[in-house]
């Protein structure tokens, strides 16, 4: 039977504040276990939380960028549950008066744009990390109390691909705001997915499962794809879906039951009495709004319009703020009104080089002006495409300007037709058989002859002109 997939995502995001949400401990990743702790984040008796206002500013920034309504009056609540990674045995979170509600995020899908609703963005604190050994379990509290944002989407996604798009766009936006590393491997971005199937045309949602333990966007997509198959097969067999939490096993590539939810767990939320509720002034919201840069969606539209890029190219270029800014610098430095050339180079050789080095294009150490200088040689047909790539590689390693490298390597192309005539004649003389074939109508042979001539010129001949010269000499001879 055909089913419609319904997906909602819950994203947890570490805010990149220097100190934790409610104490002065550092948030630096990767330090010795339990080296960044104090009585407050360890939940020692008598200690009290004090809210980090930078975390609030960051949270408001994210909420606004996701088109949420920031609430003027908000408070923290306690979410009560026992677990060894939670030293107070309650988490400071937000329940009925979250920081913000009712936002959206636009994604591109086949057939155009689609708007995914955002139910709420709220603030909370992270728990510690459990490390299980054979005999014991250890707790590292370094992460305990780090400021987290929970971003809850509406169940608006209809395929694993849409979920993937949502996450990619979300990460891109957060990256533009500079408030989180969004690194799933380091745990600074975590994503749980709720998924259910329903018969096409049915209004009510089906029974959902919650998927956890995905450590990349790809894993989220894979887990959802698996779950679509599993639930679909079960429904086809007339089996009921059990509401449960399932863990993604990235080795076996399947989801497995973690715990079955018998109703929902009672967290006994109540207002956190140690932190008075607070008012967020409209002026503050306006002030933060001003610090939000042009976001990827707007930038995408502008790149297409201002620089005549294809949507495909523009989308790649705007995915990070640093990359987009670098691209824009290149476009501005590039004198030609048609920006196809710099776009191709940014997306092609530069991006693959950056990916190899695990860097952003902007971090390769090449100036926009140096790149456009190099592209100028290409435009003037003074060097070959192949040579340009050699020059770029040299520029990246030696940081020398393009002109110097071209001179050193003697890469300027020969466009002088007198010199090329001689080469063409030599090639015609040396390849009698191929010339014969060409004359009998096998025009494909021409490229072989051009190749031979290129070899003779040691790659320095301008291939276009060379081709014309060859054609002309073949006709003459």
């Amino acid at each position: 039977m055909a089913y419609e997939t319904v997906i909602g995502l819950e994203v947890h995001l570490h805010l990149k504040t220097k100190t934790k949400a409610f104490c002065g401990c550092s948030t630096e990743f990767g330090r010795a276990p339990n080296s960044q702790v104090c009585p407050v984040c360890l939940g020692f008796p008598g200690s009290l939380p004090v809210f980090n206002r930078t975390a609030l500013d960051y949270a408001i920034k994210v909420a606004l960028a996701l088109n949420c309504k920031v609430q003027g009056f908000t408070k923290f609540d306690r979410k009560n549950y026992f677990y060894p990674d939670l030293p107070k045995d309650y988490q400071i979170s937000q329940f009925d008066l979250p920081l913000s509600r009712d936002g959206f995020l636009d994604i591109e899908i086949e057939g155009g744009p689609k708007r995914i609703g955002i139910t709420r963005v709220h603030m909370e604190e992270d728990a510690g990390k459990l490390i299980h050994r054979e005999e014991v379990s250890l707790v590292d509290f370094n992460r305990t109390g780090v400021a987290l944002l929970e971003i809850v989407s509406e169940p608006d996604m209809r395929s694993p691909e849409e979920a993937y798009e949502y996450l990619t766009n979300l990460k891109s936006i957060i990256g533009y705001l500079g408030v989180s590393d969004c690194d799933m491997e380091k745990g600074s971005l975590r994503c749980d997915a709720n998924i259910s199937l329903r018969k096409i045309g049915q209004k009510e949602f089906g029974v959902k499962t919650e998927l956890k333990n995905m450590n990349s966007f790809k894993a989220v997509r894979d887990a959802l794809v698996f779950e679509v198959g599993r639930q679909g097969a079960a429904l086809d067999e007339g089996k009921a879906i059990i509401q449960e939490t399932r863990l993604w096993d990235s080795e076996e590539l399947e989801t497995v039951t973690m715990r079955t939810k018998e109703g929902s767990q009672d967290y006994r939320y109540f207002p956190e009495p140690d932190l008075p509720p607070f008012v967020i002034e409209a002026a503050k919201i306006e002030e933060i709004k001003k610090t939000i840069p042009e976001l990827p969606a707007q930038k995408l539209g502008r790149f297409i319009k201002d620089y005549g890029l294809s949507e495909y190219d523009a989308k790649i270029l705007v995915s990070t703020k640093e990359g987009a800014d670098f691209a824009e610098e290149c476009f501005k430095a590039y004198p030609n009104p048609d920006k196809k050339m710099p776009a191709n180079w940014l997306i092609g050789p530069l991006l693959s080089e950056a990916n190899l080095r695990n860097l952003g294009v902007a971090d390769l150490g090449i100036q926009a002006s140096s790149l456009t200088e190099l592209l100028g040689y290409l435009d003037r047909q003074e060097i070959s495409n192949l040579s340009a790539k050699v020059v770029l590689a040299e520029m990246l390693s030696s940081k020398k300007p393009a002109a110097e490298i071209i001179k050193e390597k003697n890469l300027l192309q020969v466009s002088d037709s007198g010199a090329l005539d001689a080469i063409a004649d030599e090639v015609i003389k040396e390849n009698v058989k191929s010339v014969e074939e060409f004359r009998q109508g096998k025009t494909g042979v021409l490229m072989f002859l051009v190749g031979q001539a290129m070899k003779k010129s040691k790659g320095k001949a301008n291939p276009k002109i060379l081709q014309e010269v060859l054609k002309r000499r073949l006709a003459d001879a």
Partner: protein
Amino acid sequence: MELNFLTAHELIEKLDKKEISSSDILNSLYKRINETDAKVRAYVRTPDTKHLTPSTKLPPISIKDNICTEGLNTECCSKILEGFKPPYDATVIKKLKEAGAAILPLKTNMDEFAFGSSTENSFFGVTSNPWNLECVPGGSSGGSAAAVASDEAVWALGSDTGGSIRQPAAFCGVVGLKPTYGRVSRYGLIAFASSLDQIGPITKDVTDAALLMNIIAGYDPYDATSADIAKPDYTRALENNIKGIKIGIPKEYFVQGLDSEVGKIIEEAITKLKSLGAVCKEVTLPHTEYAVPVYYIIATAEASSNLARFDGVQYGYRTPNSKLPTQNLIEMYKKTRGEGFGEEAKRRIILGTFALSHGYYDAYYLRALKVRTLIKKDFDDAFKELDCILTPTAPTPAFKIKEKVDDPLKMYLSDIYTISANLAGVPAVSIPCGFTKNNLPVGLQIIAKPFNEEALFKVSYAYEQNTPWHEMKPKI
């Protein structure tokens, strides 16, 4: 006279004149503790003298077992905090040390986690009332009050969530003040009910209470609920003049349940204040009757969450009767908490957990919060025309040990006159105002509007200067 019998301000005078040193006071206190504490049992544990600072500007102070003192056992008189030595000082302890006071290295007894009105719910056993060793000292700060009353302490700190400073002060015939919520930092006070708890002084007279408040009050950036308001010099309110001061007597406090002897003594105190020039009139606090139920919902709800952290994972007691937590975590939690908490603690955790449970939250917790607002409004309205409100501190004098221990509801009613001040967040003091025929002290409670502790000091000082009660000493 032995130094331990003097008030803090008398001792400070002698210290300033270099007539005595702080170690003289300590020796005198230790001598007294050795002589009488076997009977009173105001302190838990024996002194750990290596923590003593040799010479200080101020007399040493006795601290309730729920206020964190760095490196010194702080166990809330509970088995579950067995051996807990905090790695830090509470803000009030820091302030005391900075002001030049030594912290007596043994803590005062209390009801476990401040759950009680008689100090009978202590893991370390009951404290006796110095005026009658068969009676309770009140609670939960019974140890601090009994120590001050028996001259085993110069002055002391207690904590007050529903009357835990004022009621034992009344039972023991000493001064006990609960500051405005937010006036004194709670950082380092092991929480019972975060929205109600305040630390405050228990002293031999009103002057000592003002001196102690001068040290401990004030904004603390480590407590988000502390008020960022300038702190006055409270000793300036100690003037023997209350002419024209307007005092309200709430009719709801003089009803059935008030011991007739206590009622009479309070009447006499009112007469005395009138003779000193106070203008007294009857007022109404219409929601008074709801204070006890509202309190027992809010306080237990917060406590159920505050006490969750005592789970055997990081500190304190962990059951030896369970498999490794890795193998059975839930069993470790259950046994640790089952074995570590006393009866009353368990009762309150269960009550609070219930009040916050899904499906009951609106009917209990949320409703209680709404009524709390009404109770606060009662006080706001009353204080529009008043400087102070005057009531008995407790409905009865000290009762016998074990008399109410099996009847929690009866026990809860011991706090019927003190609870409203915590719910409303207003400051209140209990001062001695007479004795019953059986020679048990009676306390007079004075309540003022938020951040007007000066009014409390003004009225209580004038009353004290014109009555002999604070000079009475029990024979132990």
